[in-house]
């Protein structure tokens, strides 16, 4: 009987387009799936649906203008992206940054990280089929956005960092509201675990799915929480500390399972670590200026510059080749999402389409960051 089945009943290989307009691809990402029945043989990607050529635009903009463009990459870690450009220019020109600015930047960084991870958590549940989490996630995110609105003047693409500091000083309510948020979020975060993390169906969908080994993770350039779930130590905040990360105590979250559930756990734990950083720094904001005066026209000396920051999705980097002009000669934006997407084919081979959706969610892609 078995012989008969394998001989005559064969599944056919075919191609399936997923996206560019598909709710589970988190934006305009087009995946070309090669399927055998429902089993994924190969995942190819087609990008460029939201390509704005920011790298080319940077070549005609001054450094102060470039800061604003980086907001539009990974809009969920806009503050970190801005910071990368600012740190690069400040380091190149040897601008001394007072402690107050460093602490403010770090605080907003961590709030951004929590807000990004909370959104990810909500969408993660939704991709698996649990619609409630989206509402829960947005409840906490709203609190952070309100804090941003008060201090930075905007909720998403805040443009808070400028070269030499931050745009406005902290609002008088900032400290109180962040403290309120910490108290609130500490109560709500365990709720996330009861709601989703320990749900049997949810865990069955993630555990052992989308495995990638430590060696492969390094080779494919995986970074951020996705790589830390495979046991790769790659937290830029630890390896190359910037701003005020060297004065806060926190752990780098590393799991070794390398599956979807490990990637999920890394981000949940990271939110606890972000809270720890916030708690340590919120009472220790030094007095002083919020902005250092810089020259009106900024020219970087000839040479190569590189600055990396830990964005919510991973290792974000800006590489500038300068010829001494007020415009960069070449500016490369190294996006964490693009590198993570490279490993998608490796993770999904032999799995089903529903698993692909879950894996896409656990590597947490943001398409404008991939397309640039």
């Amino acid at each position: 009987m078995e012989e008969f089945l394998t001989d005559t009943l064969k599944t056919q290989e075919y191609f399936l387009n997923m996206g560019p307009q598909h709710p589970a691809t988190h934006g305009v990402l087009r995946l070309l799936l090669k399927l055998d029945g429902e089993i994924i043989q190969n995942v190819d990607m087609d990008l460029g649906y939201i390509h704005r050529s920011i790298e080319k635009m940077c070549e005609r903009d001054t450094y102060k203008q470039i800061v604003h463009l980086t907001d539009r990459l990974d809009y969920l870690s806009s503050h970190m992206n801005n910071e990368a450009v600012c740190l690069l220019v400040e380091k190149a020109l040897n601008i001394e940054i007072p402690d107050r600015i460093k602490v403010i930047r770090t605080l907003v960084d961590e709030l951004t990280r929590i807000s990004s991870h909370v959104l990810w958590w909500g969408v993660m549940g939704m991709d698996i089929g649990a619609l409630t989490t989206f509402m829960y996630g947005f409840r906490e995110r709203e609190m952070i956005n309100d804090i941003f609105e008060e201090t930075c003047g905007a909720r998403l693409t805040m443009n808070y960092n400028v070269i030499g500091g931050v745009r406005y000083d902290l609002h008088e309510n900032f400290v109180k509201r962040v403290k309120d948020f910490i108290v609130h979020f500490k109560k709500k975060l365990p709720e996330y675990d009861t709601l989703l993390s320990n749900n049997v169906i949810f865990r069955k969908r993630l555990e052992g799915i989308g495995y990638i080994s430590k060696e492969d993770a390094v080779a494919y350039g995986l970074n951020g929480p996705a790589a830390r779930a495979s046991g790769v130590s790659c937290d830029i905040r630890k390896i190359h500390p910037y701003s005020a990360y060297d004065r806060a105590e926190f752990d780098e979250i590393i799991f070794t399972e390398g599956d979807s559930y490990a990637r999920y756990k890394v981000r949940i734990k990271e939110m606890w670590e972000s809270l720890r950083i916030l708690e340590q720094l919120i009472d220790k904001i030094p007095e002083g200026e919020h902005r250092v005066k810089t020259k009106a026209v900024i020219k970087l000396p000839e040479g190569d510059y590189l600055q990396r920051v830990e964005a919510a999705r991973g290792d974000f980097g800006v590489y500038v080749k300068s010829t001494g002009q007020k415009f960069p000669y070449r500016l490369k934006l190294r996006s964490p999402g693009f590198a993570n997407l490279t490993a998608l084919n490796k993770m999904t081979k032999g799995l089903k389409i529903a698993d692909l959706v879950a894996i896409l969610s656990t590597i947490d892609i943001v398409v404008p960051d991939i397309d640039r």
Binding site: M45, D46, L47, G48, H51, S53, E55, K56, R60, D216, V218, A219, Y220, G221, V232, S233, C234, I239, H240, G303, D304, L306, R308, D315, G317, Y319, K321, R330, K332, R334, F338, A339, L341, T342, K346, D371
Partner: protein, 153 residues
């Protein structure tokens, strides 16, 4: 490990290497394009160095020449180096692919091919990734590319 010590260790791996930036943040190396592939493989496999993480691959138009800049990091020592490779032939620029050494380079090489026209010898699929499939208006990131409508300074 200081940059000078690193330089001494890398020097013996290949010929015709030009070093700079010993007192900067990272060591910069310019390598001959014929030696590139072998050199990259040695950097990755050397037990002491272990430059196994390709951080970024950047295509650059140097004006006269076209080139690629690789940023490699060692997961062992967490040192970062910058490797530059150049080709003078602007009409048919060819550089060896490194995607079989660093799988992370696969899509980055497609990107560099698309925007700079650099052909990566040995790359299996240099398709259009960001640009439309029927794009034939040249290589947009090159310095001599002109588009009157889009690039007004």
């Amino acid at each position: 490990m200081t940059n000078t010590e690193l330089k001494n260790k890398i020097e013996i791996l290949s010929e015709n290497l030009i070093f700079s930036g010993e007192d900067g943040d990272f060591l910069k190396i310019e390598v001959d394009k014929d030696n590139l592939k072998e050199f990259m493989k040695k950097l990755r496999d050397n037990e002491e160095l272990r430059f196994d993480y390709l951080f970024a691959l950047t295509g650059i138009d140097f004006g006269e020449e076209l080139g690629v800049v690789y940023h490699l990091e060692s997961t062992k020592s967490r040192k970062l180096i910058q490797i530059t490779v150049k080709t003078a032939d602007r009409n048919n620029p060819e550089i060896d692919t490194v995607h079989d050494i660093f799988p992370a380079a696969f899509f980055n090489e497609i990107e560099a091919h698309e925007f700079f026209g650099i052909k990566f010898k040995g790359h299996p699929d240099l398709k259009h990734l960001f640009l439309p499939e029927n794009w034939d208006k040249g290589y947009p990131m090159r310095k001599d590319y002109t588009d009157i409508n889009m690039l007004i300074r």
